[in-house]
């Protein structure tokens, strides 16, 4: 009897999961179709790029600066006596570009941007502002979702590249000030294993993270039910789900693009 009930619960949860995925996929497809409405989303794109991208720079650069400092110190601590110190530059550069830059900034922006989008659109949903857009013949997906998703996909790589530059620069300053290493030594290590593919790999990851953060935020906002409590639930879900998807995508890209 217990086994039957457990199976029933597992089946119900699986069905709910599949149904949710189906609804999300339909929403994503609708967003793709609404790309045709360029006259609706076009004028809004620059504003969203500023709001989601430029305004996120301070938190992203702050995070990167301290990550660069810690990476340099940890590398020197790990390498002492065993590995030449110029590898500090290698580790800081590789780790910032390939992993910590995109993932840490992605998780931070899942909180900042994803929550912001879900709360804003959720409030618009419960106060009937999205319905109001429809009554005035606007495609709400083209008006609200497309500019946010495009802004996320375009700005996220830019933010991360700037973050990488700041992180590596802070790693360099830390190495010079605290590890008695010259700039040339650090840069020698930085260039040692650098390949252009690192930037391409990082950019692909960033675009996918930007897509996930904004699309999940929009989906949760669009499907908000109830009042203030519903907005809270949508916001929390947006942050948790996009954070999880960032980690899953991180593993996916590593498995598909880094295997030689």
């Amino acid at each position: 009897m217990n086994a039957t009930r457990t199976l029933e619960r597992v089946g119900t949860a699986a069905l709910r999961g599949f149904a949710g995925f189906g609804v999300f996929s339909r929403f994503a497809a609708q967003s793709g179709r609404s790309l045709r409405e360029a006259s609706t989303w076009g004028p809004l794109l620059a504003g969203q790029m500023r709001k989601l991208g430029v305004n996120s720079l301070p938190i992203a650069l702050f995070l990167s600066a301290f990550t660069g400092i810690v990476l340099a110190l940890q590398a020197s601590y790990t390498f002492t006596g065993a590995i030449p110190l110029y590898f500090v530059g290698t580790l800081v550069g590789k780790t910032m570009i390939l992993e910590l830059g995109p993932v840490l900034i992605g998780l931070a922006l899942a909180g900042r941007v994803g929550a912001n989008i879900a709360a804003e659109l959720g409030t618009m949903r419960v106060s009937e502002q999205i319905d109001a857009l429809e009554t005035m013949a606007y495609d709400p997906v083209a008006y609200l979702v497309v500019p946010r998703v495009l802004a996320g996909m375009l700005m996220f790589p830019v933010i991360v590249i700037l973050g990488d530059v700041v992180g590596i620069f802070c790693g360099l300053l830390t190495s010079m000030a605290m590890l008695e290493m010259s700039a040339q030594t650090f840069i020698r290590g930085l260039r040692l294993f650098y390949v252009h593919f690192d930037i391409i790999y990082s950019t692909i990851k960033c675009i996918s993270f930007g897509l996930v953060i904004t699309l999940v935020g929009c989906y949760q906002g669009f499907n908000t039910k109830g009042g203030a409590e519903g907005v809270g639930v949508a916001t929390t879900r947006a942050v948790v789900i996009s954070g999880m998807l960032i980690l899953v995508l991180d593993a996916f890209w590593a498995a598909t693009l880094l295997r030689s």
Binding site: Q129, L133, T135, M136, A137
Partner: protein, 262 residues
């Protein structure tokens, strides 16, 4: 016939909200739909401009069958239907003028200066001259409703749908809104469908009144006919007797009831 609802059924999950609504609104007419809270009045209204699609039955506006319209035809139709929301639904990140300009820009055909002129005219019609640069958060409840009405009339729709335009307002502001609704009809010649549970408002503004009960229209008539109706449901509502209020919400379908009790 300008607006026609034919046997409209709508359910949300197990809750059957509309169970065969049929209603006609003639050109230039103002019809109020009254009924207890939860009777499905707002749900009914949203079928007219395609915000909701019926599970069964259909809706016609200007002879066009709304559920069968393509995306572009539906958008085109919506520019002929102004919608006044219960809580105004103004875009809170925009000023009153920007709110009103949204519909005008979508409809097109006017130069920027003409659109600004139309904003001023619309605000004057609802006695909100000078409020162009205010934001929704800076307006009172009554002013927000009037700004919502100005937004709905700015692009000169042929039809106006009002969702509880006077709910939550004081008696004086209610009278102001009622007069505005009459003014829209007289000055702009619009056909209006008004959702309300305020009988005084309904008597004041309507050519005809329809009573929605348990997901169906149970009576339609002129204000006098409704006032003197023999229908027990209508009498109970008009006289404010609570004896039928607990039955007002549309009952669950038998299958859903079984699901609930299982």
């Amino acid at each position: 016939m300008s607006i026609q609802l034919r046997d409209v059924h709508k359910a949300f999950g197990p809750k059957q909200v509309l169970r065969g609504v049929t209603l006609d609104v003639e050109e230039g007419e103002t019809v109020s739909v009254v009924g207890f809270s939860g009777a499905g009045k707002s749900v009914m209204l949203k079928h007219i401009n395609g915000l909701l699609l019926p599970d069964r039955g259909t809706a016609f506006v200007d002879g066009l069958e709304v559920p069968k319209l393509g995306r572009r035809e539906l958008f085109q139709l919506r520019l002929n239907i102004g919608y006044v929301f219960q809580f105004a639904a103004l875009f809170d990140s925009m000023s009153v003028a920007e709110n009103i300009l949204m519909g005008l820009r979508k409809k097109g055909g006017l130069a920027e200066a003409e659109m600004r002129q139309r904003v001023a005219e619309s605000l004057a019609l609802v006695d909100l001259t000078g409020y162009e640069e205010r934001f929704p958060a800076e307006l009172s409840g009554g002013q927000r409703k009037r700004a919502g009405l100005a937004r709905a009339i700015a692009y000169r729709p042929k039809y106006l749908l009002y969702d509880e335009p006077t709910s939550g307002l004081d008696p004086v502001t209610t009278t102001v809104i009622d007069r505005l609704i009459q003014r829209m009809k007289e000055e702009l010649g619009v056909t209006s469908l008004v959702i309300t549970h305020d009988m005084e408002s309904a008597y004041a503004i309507s050519d005809r009144i329809a009573m929605l009960y348990q997901g169906r229209v149970v009576e339609v008539g002129t204000p006098d006919e409704i006032r003197n109706s023999d229908n027990e449901v209508v009498r109970s509502f008009v006289e404010g007797r609570p004896d039928l209020a607990h039955d007002a919400e549309t009952p669950l379908e038998p299958a859903a009831q079984q699901g609930r009790t299982a």
